[in-house]
């Protein structure tokens, strides 16, 4: 069982990414509004205001999606589908996908085969 976290930089792709989750057989996920560190530092801390130009190109806001996945084989499938939507995740500014082991969970929705 894994906790999958995906930081989606291009928020406009959220709907398609959610469809990818469903297609991969992942029945539920939680979506958080999130903010990049560069945006926070350069717009909220006056000391770093002059770095706005340097940070340009980085998406200021993003979505963080997380889901506990029982059947780990679904993760590979999801990665493929996400990359079809967002492009190669190795490209900077696309998104970040990672998983961490989960040793206990309760309240999860039933996953289809």
């Amino acid at each position: 069982m894994k906790l999958l976290v995906f930081v989606l930089n291009r928020e406009e792709l959220l709907e398609e990414v959610m469809e990818a989750f469903v297609e991969a057989g992942i029945p539920g996920a939680t979506i958080l509004d999130s903010e990049g560190m560069g945006r926070m530092l350069t717009y909220e801390v006056p000391l770093f205001a002059d770095f706005r130009e340097f940070m340009r190109g980085n998406k200021p806001y993003n979505k963080t999606i997380f889901s506990v996945i029982k059947k780990e084989e679904k993760i590979k499938k999801l990665e493929e589908l996400i990359e079809k939507v967002c492009g190669n995740l190795s490209e900077p500014g696309t998104g970040i996908l990672f998983t961490i082991p989960v040793d206990y969970a309760k309240g999860l929705r039933h996953e289809e085969e």
Binding site: P46, L47, F48, A49, D50, F51, F54
Partner: protein
């Protein structure tokens, strides 16, 4: 990463600034750094610093200001420290007078290094005890020593 204790030089530290206002203090500290030979056009640098301050104050509160720019007029990163025991007006975010001013000047294109130095300096200066020591020192050389000791302690 460049060490703050290596960046600081007693020649560019003034423990008793003459200036009473923000603009004057910038001028006084740029003049201090002119000795380094790494600044090409001091009046232009002063203007760029003042322009930068208009984007957002570098008076971070707690009596500290870290004015800084990256400019084509600077060949290598340099830093000066000025102290005004009675404090001076610097439009700080906490609206309180500023006592310690660190002027950091770096060349264009070295944004990452500049950012790292700023973050490290800001973090160390949030330490009240450290600031108190800086307010007490009587010799410029001591400033370099206490920064070196702090960096050694942090590893």
């Amino acid at each position: 990463m460049l060490k703050l204790s290596e960046l600081l030089n007693p020649k560019y530290i003034k423990l008793d600034l003459n200036a009473k206002r923000k603009k004057e203090v910038i001028g006084e500290m740029v003049e201090l750094l002119c000795q380094s030979g790494k600044i090409k056009n001091a009046p232009k640098i002063e203007k760029e610093i003042i322009q930068r301050e208009k984007e957002g104050t570098t008076g971070i509160g707690g009596g500290i200001a870290i004015p800084h720019i990256r400019s084509k007029e600077i060949s290598q990163t340099v830093m000066a420290l000025g102290r005004k025991k009675e404090g001076l007006e610097f439009d700080a975010i906490d609206e309180k007078p500023v006592n310690l001013i660190f002027l950091l000047l770096g060349p264009k294109g070295e944004e990452s290094q500049h950012l790292k130095i700023l973050c490290k300096l800001s973090r160390i200066l949030h330490n009240t005890q450290f600031k108190e020591i800086l307010m007490r020192v009587t010799k410029e050389e001591e400033v370099v020593t206490i920064f070196r000791e702090q960096e050694e302690k942090e590893g």
